[in-house]
Symmetry: C2
């Protein structure tokens, strides 16, 4: 049978992993498919031939556009990252009859409309497993395994850097800055870690998960996004006293078609499976109407986990082509692109949560009462408290019953203005019923 021929755009960490897997497992992949997966060309600005990887000089080019246009190529694997030229090259690939595999979550979440529409119009497929969760097969699980169920909620630990930092803080007692510095030295965090620690990478991924889980379109800027840099050891310790673990969660809920989508530090019960996901692991926990809860756990990034996801998409495309499919069914997002509508968003002010609160206050009689009375005025009731030893300034630490985000923000602003409060109040949202 004719081999399936691959054009690779970008041969950095993940691209190198793809080349290794295709080479190392060539016999297994041929046995699985009944034909070979053949690397037909690699576009990369700085790649040099590598005999061990089978990267001969005739395979390497700097002209990505020419590679994409080649008629002998079946699948284009886009691993350049960034918006351009990735977007144009992907569109070009569809125009010339190729299917595409990409790990480019920034591109897909921000500019997916043109790409998915073009794929549908040309009857081509776009595999995006590698864009969320690295080696955790969450895209195809939502698109295929959970296809007959209605999802209620998605809770994802989808940023390995943040999870590494938070779980290391909790385990080692080192503070945020120290753990971040260590993560940067050991390659677990970028030199500029902003996209990760501010939650934006997780928001990109959540917007894709929302589409796959709920069948609606959502832009990352519609996700309420907070990062982890304000998380202190003190709050992690209080969380533990309350029986909680702090995680950066990407949360999406669907309530009769209205979508709640937010990324922020979250306290989850320490006995919940998500709480024990540590280090650079990712996990996605899904609540379905019929299926109940399922969870998917694995390494969320790195050369080989991400490369495994890319190869899975290549194999899927190969199988469709080998089965004689005249065009790919338009299901990269679980629905035909034309069936997707813009999400109806629940504004953050209307979201209801339980909260962990910490106030730093002068140790005077009546302080707690005055805090509680402001909270009460805004319909926020206290579920439990941690009493502190006496000192000139004491932390007043509590968890609340469910309250409206809007009410909480107004109450905190009001409390902050009081003279006996010596620092900005700290709040962390709690998800207990997951």
């Amino acid at each position: 049978m004719k081999p399936i021929r691959i054009g690779l755009l970008g041969c950095g960490t993940v691209g190198g992993g793809v080349v290794k897997l295709l080479r190392r497992h060539a016999a297994m992949l041929s046995a699985r498919l009944g034909t070979r997966l053949e690397l037909a060309g690699v576009a990369d600005r700085s790649l040099t031939p590598d005999r061990a990887l089978g990267l001969t000089s005739d395979l390497i080019t700097r002209d990505a556009a020419a590679l994409v246009a080649r008629p002998d190529i079946d699948v284009v694997v886009e691993l350049f990252g960034g918006i351009e030229p990735a977007r144009s090259l992907i569109l070009k690939a569809f125009e010339t009859g190729k299917d595409v595999v990409t790990a480019n979550k920034a591109l897909l979440s921000q500019h997916g409309d043109r790409i998915f529409k073009a794929a549908a119009r040309r009857g081509r497929f776009i595999g995006l497993e590698a864009s969320v969760g690295g080696g955790v097969p969450i895209i195809r699980t939502l698109r295929e395994a959970l296809v007959g169920d209605r999802q209620r909620a998605v809770y994802g630990i989808v940023n390995g850097t943040c999870n590494y930092i938070l779980s290391t803080m909790a385990e080692s007692g080192a503070d945020f800055a120290d753990v971040l510095a260590h993560a940067q030295r050991s390659g677990l965090a970028e030199a500029d870690p902003t996209l990760d620690i501010d939650g934006h990478d997780a928001a990109h991924k959540l917007s894709l998960l929302v589409t796959l889980a709920f069948g609606v379109l959502l832009k990352p800027n519609q996700v309420h996004t907070e990062g982890i840099s304000r998380i202190t050891l003190q709050d992690i310790a209080y969380a533990r006293e309350f029986g909680f673990t702090v995680k950066l969660l990407a949360i999406a809920k669907n309530e009769d078609g209205t979508i709640e989508a937010r990324v922020h530090p979250t306290m989850v019960p320490s006995r919940h499976p998500l709480a024990s996901v540590s280090g650079a692991y990712n996990a996605i926990y899904i609540q379905g109407e019929a299926l109940g809860s399922t969870m998917y756990l694995g390494l969320g990034a790195g050369e080989m986990p991400t490369a495994t996801a890319v190869v899975a998409d290549i194999v899927e495309i190969a199988r469709m082509r080998l089965a004689g499919a005249t065009e790919a069914s338009d299901h990269a997002l679980g629905y035909p692109y034309s069936a997707l509508k813009a999400a109806r968003i629940k504004p953050m002010e209307r979201v209801a949560c339980q909260y962990y609160l910490r106030f730093m206050a002068e140790d005077k009689p009546g302080v707690l009462g005055r805090i509680a009375s402001v909270l009460g005025r805004y319909r926020i009731s206290i579920a439990s408290m941690i009493q502190q030893e006496r000192a000139p300034q004491v932390p007043v630490v509590m968890r609340t019953h469910e309250a409206r985000e809007h009410d909480l923000m107004v109450a905190l602003t009001e409390i902050r203005r009081r003279k006996f409060v010596t620092a900005a109040p700290v709040f962390i949202r709690i998800e207990e019923q997951l």
Copy 2:
């Protein structure tokens, strides 16, 4: 577009769930596929019409063979269970151009050869997601997501009844017989629970997982199988002291093409994600060469979880047909059936494990030394011990370093013969490096 028409064989618990899902989510499924999934007929001996479910009398028949032969049907969903007539009906379905979905793990694991061969010969697909792990999408994950990696090991909690019994024993302190009786009353265990608690159901599932993970064929009777009925509260408590939790694990390892496959009570580190899988949940933990460890968690049985898996397979078949695939690619097991070879099995005697051991012995000086010296003679060294208070009969409890199964069995037989030993020694295998 033409609807995809389904013939359902068996409308018990899972079949009823399938009918409900197809009806409840008809609009969503149509939006996903661009065409309807239509229930064309139901074969069941005792079904009566049910308007709420849309089961009108013209849909219901007792003649399963006639239903399977109908030319207007695209997909046959076999939920009769058992060997016959399920097997003949599935073969008939392939002959007449249908694809098949089944949850029948007993049939597939024991008589899969004829079925998979027939599917391949006729270019038809057989979806078996529902046969292992209920709502946990482990079949398609192995078949698709992990397709570019080589799996090293599979550790599965794949029998919900056993997991419920063991985790309830550990949490409530009730003994095996009481928890089993309670599980039977509440429908979590069958009236005749033998297939579950003796480990045979797990062995059926493991034989399918071995094929999907390692690309080799294995019969359930090639799986070393032990059940959970000998697990006592005492051993669960000692396990906890050693930092372990007792689970019925289905374990398969691939060492350069030699397969180790066994189902037995196993101690796993209490901090491992598998240890926290409680109640009727299932989880499959997979170690891949490139991907590292991933875990898949969810409800392993029941009406709706299993029905969700069935519908996922129906949708997959529908997508293949709608994409114009002339025949299904032969990948139900991750490989074309013809590429699968019989597994080369590592005999249980040659398997090496760590062991938990408990001896009941008279409390005399030198007893421990005499036990240790027999163990030592068979190259079994003690890693740690739990000292007991003095009593006429004392438990001598220890964990060993890695030892050969054969050596352990001979040593235990020899120790049993000693006069100071008052009961058959207890052993439970430990998996620590997972």
